[in-house]
Amino acid sequence: MNNFQYSRARDVADAIRLLAADPAAKLIAGGTNLIDLMKENVERPSRLIDISRLPLRDIEETADGGLRIGALVPNSDLAYHPLVEQRYPLLASAILAGASAQLRNMASVGGNLMQRTRCPYFYDTATPCNKRSPGTGCSAIDGLNRNHAILGTSNSCIATNPSDMSVALAALGALVHIAGSSGQRTVALTDFHRLPDDKPHLDTNLGDGEIITAIELPPRGFARNYSYLKIRDRLSYAFALVSVAAALELEGNAISEARLALGGVAHKPWRSLEAEAALRGQAATPDHFGRAADLLLQGATAHSHNGFKIELARRAVVRTLMQAASATPQSQAHKKIA
């Protein structure tokens, strides 16, 4: 661990000012990801700007009937908030599928969006990694890549984004509110995270000196027909091999609206408008779900150890859509897949 300076931001503007003053500074919220990476010497910020006491902890209804969630709302508070439980149970479920109760108590919404990949080479400073040290090479491409990406990869990096919450947010069409020295802006969650391309060191499109202030959920919550299914190597407390967020609106057995996002398969939550469009107007049947899965997985490529993910993702998509259609969402508390 490196030595670092510590400042506590007084308000958002102060945080932005502190960030601008020191390009090697980092914001710290819950610290559950950043501190680990500092201990491993992966992150070496010159200064920690503590934003954990900023007043970004509210969950408020927006004028159009959506929800605005402050960037510092703890993951647990968000998952158990009555409005989220009632109107956006998909989000609650995805959050509860992640990490452990203790971590969710500490973790913030903003930190969750910004958490870094779990690629083991990224964590080990003794190995080459383009994301950690640009230009050194990607150890995973010909190495241990069982849990790496099958979609949107590049020759520079095949890492996945590990967040569960982001997968649900992508499916729900969430927006990210950002503040910086040149003012405020809003981006769609699906445009917030990047694909690695030739700049894998950049996980997101958040600019230098910018800070996430909130996320916003549109009114549509898919509270009846939804499911979040996370497939992993043990039944809790492991990152996804593949996860699926599915949300449907049904008229009878006909699909009027569909949302589908995959986690654990790409550098960002993976959504395909084409796959969702293909579901609209169709009956909620395994065949149609399978076709949507194929569209969603179009272009998937395997590396030496992760080929199984393609078929697993396909099956998981079908299962999750079935769970959503039958209004029997995956429970995150029971030790069983529905």
């Binding site: 779990r118 003794a126 190995t127 150890s139 010909d142 241990l144 043990r234 039944l235 809790s236 099956r315």
Partner: protein, 734 residues
């Protein structure tokens, strides 16, 4: 009198543990304590070309940086580095000894600072350059270089010929990955500088006297110079049998700086210690159509380091379990550029019996026999390697009681024939076997006139419950309530004990307590008889019992007097007896514990997700001293067996020779959600031959057989035979 032995007595150290009063090695305080942080090598093989500590030394608060080129002297003979349980062959690892790098993660420097954070920071400022050398770390690609080690099991008959003629044959490789112990407590040592060259070393270890002797020999000290203490151990599972390098480094720094030093390893650094070696197990079975075995061959190829030959008995277990006129066993080692493996719970058996029991299941399928029926057909009443009867072997009862509790008779034999909703259901079983060992242990008992007794011994309690059973046996033998017994363990100045391992400590310490208590009783009888006007004057000193604070004649109408009175009238405040218990050597019988393990899995057919919904483990291990800690011990073994079957695997990138999942987020052990019903049955197994109490020990048997039972259940559920462990879901997807 057995008021305590055999009962579910709660842990006597439970309160101290849950309240935090129990102190672990890294928690002891000392004046002006310094903190050491290890710098570890990042290559698997080569030499240190340059090690520049100047920048680290400039960090404020850094006191020194020890390296091979800058340290106090260390012993230079291999013999000096051989501890009680070091492999016979080889040259034990010596931290900071010279510029050679023998494995990735090897310590190359110790930064010592006034506080931990400073040491940790300064460690990043130590610059190192290596002369790298070609290396190999992959057992599978180096398999051809395997060399055979001496193996205890003699071949019987002509296994090769019998195999070729056998009507039904099964032959396969089973691949068991390397596994790391991951005890909750990190490896730690606090070496307290007592002045005048004397040290008290608080160490995380399974054997304080082993560490004490080792340190004295490595540092050329006299016996009284170093005392090693380890009152509580937060799990070790075999990784603490040998002294680990942090104890050398903490002591080295204390000697160098004449100050107290604490060294705590990080989780990642603990992956540079020992581990369960990866093995490729080749098993071939030949049988007649009726299920009688004609031939068994078992060959294991295991990893070891280039500098020490670590090997355990993976292959001989079939001789304990199944009658076969022909058998051949061999154990081979492949030397790789890795650290030396070490014991991990049921070393050899956890892996070897897994392969054997999967193979037996495959043979049962080929023979169209129920797996229990096959095992009963081959049941051996004698240990065939030495052709000896067992002191006791209630394995038949294990099969029967386990099967009944599990409901085995409702199993339909065909794979994929049992369902529960979307899940395929599989029922599998396997046999477990381990040794019932016992070792010389000495115990001191000090009985005071107020009716209290202190029982002390250098043995460790690694969380298994030694404090508790020692207290139970002492309370019964001395006729005192357990609250009046205090137990002191794991201090090298206490009476002799070997390392705690191999499942030998329960039997060994219990009988040592009995021996010392016997002396106390005789002394009391002598005193009682000698009292003026004693009611017990005519007493036969060998026929008395201590009970309820009294010394009483065994004759039901005989007299009894209060122990307190006897001591007071004899003007004695305390009676102290120390005795070394040796078990009479008896080579006429084999000594083993056994188990039958039954597992139910439910497998999501499309997604491959496996849940182990039920495990029944029926254990025959002689008399169970404490049914509560005993049950916990078996449950822990079952949980670990679930991990072996489904989760655990140390993953190395052989291009770097580095372990890539060196943390407990990515090295998976089962979590609560993976564990469902576990039913532990102790089968009655009276054994008056093995030792006085009929005790065999429970430390290892709980894990043996569990991975195979689960693998066999997965086959029964899915029709897929996975022979490469762990059985992760990708191996079940088509």
């Amino acid at each position: 009198m057995n008021a305590y032995v055999g009962t579910p007595t709660s842990r006597v150290d439970g309160r101290a543990k849950v309240t935090g009063a129990a102190k672990y090695a890294g928690e002891f305080a000392a004046d002006r304590l310094l903190h050491g942080f290890v710098v570890a090598a990042t290559i698997p093989r080569g030499r240190i070309a340059r090690l520049d500590t100047s920048e680290a030394l400039r960090v404020e608060g850094v006191v020194d940086v020890l390296t091979h080129a800058h340290r106090p002297p260390l012993a230079d003979k291999d013999e000096a580095w051989k501890d009680e349980v070091a492999p016979e062959k080889g040259s034990p690892f010596r931290p900071l000894y010279d510029d050679r790098i023998n494995f990735n993660g090897q310590p190359i420097a110790l930064v010592v600072a006034e506080d931990w954070e400073t040491a940790k920071f300064a460690a990043t400022r130590v610059r190192v350059e290596y002369d790298q050398e070609a290396f190999a770390t992959d057992l599978e690609s180096e398999r051809g270089k395997a060399a055979r080690v001496d193996q205890p099991h003699k071949p019987r008959g002509d296994a090769a010929a019998a195999l070729t003629r056998a009507a039904v044959q099964h032959e396969a490789d089973y691949v068991m990955p390397s596994e790391h112990h991951n005890p909750m407590e990190l490896y730690a040592t606090t070496a307290v500088w007592d002045g005048n060259g004397k040290l008290t070393v608080y160490d995380k270890t399974q054997g304080v006297q082993n560490v004490q002797k080792f340190l004295c020999s490595v540092f050329g000290r006299k016996r009284d110079d170093i005392r090693v203490v380890s009152p509580y151990v937060g799990g070790a599972f075999g990784s603490g049998l040998r002294p680990q390098y942090q104890v050398v480094l903490a002591t080295l720094a204390a000697v160098a700086l004449k100050r107290s030093v604490r060294v705590v390893l990080t989780r990642r650094q603990m992956y540079g210690l020992g581990y369960r070696p990866m093995t490729i197990e080749h098993v071939a079975l030949g049988a007649s159509p009726d299920g009688t075995l004609d031939a068994v061959t078992h060959e294991a190829i295991a990893v070891t380091s280039r500098f020490e030959d670590f090997s355990r008995n993976d292959t001989g277990w079939a001789d304990q379990l199944y009658k076969s006129p022909n058998s051949r066993f061999s154990h081979k080692l492949v030397e790789l550029d890795v650290s030396t493996p070490c014991d991990m719970r049921a070393p050899g058996a956890a892996t070897g019996v897994c392969a054997l029991e999967c193979a037996m299941d495959e043979l049962a399928v080929a023979l169209k026999l129920d797996p229990i029926e096959l095992r009963l057909k081959c049941y051996s009443e004698r240990d065939q390697s030495e052709d000896l009867p067992y002191t006791s072997k209630q394995l038949r009862q294990c099969y029967a009681r386990g099967a009944e509790a599990f409901g085995w008779d409702r199993r339909t034999p065909a794979p994929r024939s049992m369902h529960d909703g979307k899940d395929l259901v599989g029922w599998g079983m396997a046999t477990g076997v381990w040794e019932a060992l016992q070792m010389p242990v000495a115990v001191r008992i000090v009985l005071t006139a107020n009716g209290h007794a202190e029982v002390s011994c250098a043995a460790s309690d690694i969380g298994t419950g030694t404090y508790t059973i020692v207290a139970q046996v002492a309370a019964d033998a001395l006729g005192l309530p357990i609250e009046n017994i205090s137990v002191r363990l794991a201090d090298s100045t206490l009476p002799q004990a070997p390392v705690e391992g191999g499942s030998w400590m329960a039997a060994s310490s219990a009988h040592a307590v009995l021996g010392a208590a016997e002396d106390i009783r005789q002394e009391l009888a002598r005193l009682a008889k000698a009292l003026p006007g004693s009611q017990l004057a005519d007493l036969d000193a060998t026929k008395v019992t201590l009970v309820d604070g009294m010394i009483a004649s065994n004759d039901p109408n005989g007299a009894a007097v209060s122990i307190a009175d006897v001591m007071r009238h004899s003007k004695l405040e305390r009676i102290e007896k120390e005795k070394l218990n040796q078990f009479a050597e008896d080579k006429s019988h084999a000594r083993n514990t056994h188990s039958a393990v039954f597992a139910e899995v439910k497998v999501d057919e499309q997604l491959g997700v496996i849940r182990v919904t039920r495990v029944v483990s029926a254990v025959a291990a002689g008399r169970i001293l404490n049914t509560k800690t005993g049950r916990s011990q078996i449950m822990g073994g079952v949980v670990w067996g679930i991990g072996m079957a489904l989760h655990e695997e140390t993953m190395m990138d052989h291009r770097f020779g580095r372990i890539m999942n060196a943390d407990i987020a990515e090295y998976h052990v089962p979590v609560n959600a993976d564990i469902h019903d576990i039913d532990v049955i102790f089968v009655d197994e009276p054994d008056d031959r093995i030792n006085r109490l009929g005790v065999k020990g429970l430390g290892e048997i709980g894990i043996v057989g569990v991975p195979a039972a689960i693998a066999n259940a997965v086959y029964h559920a899915t029709g897929k035979r996975v022979r490469r462990f762990p059985i992760t879901l990708d191996k079940l997807l088509d």
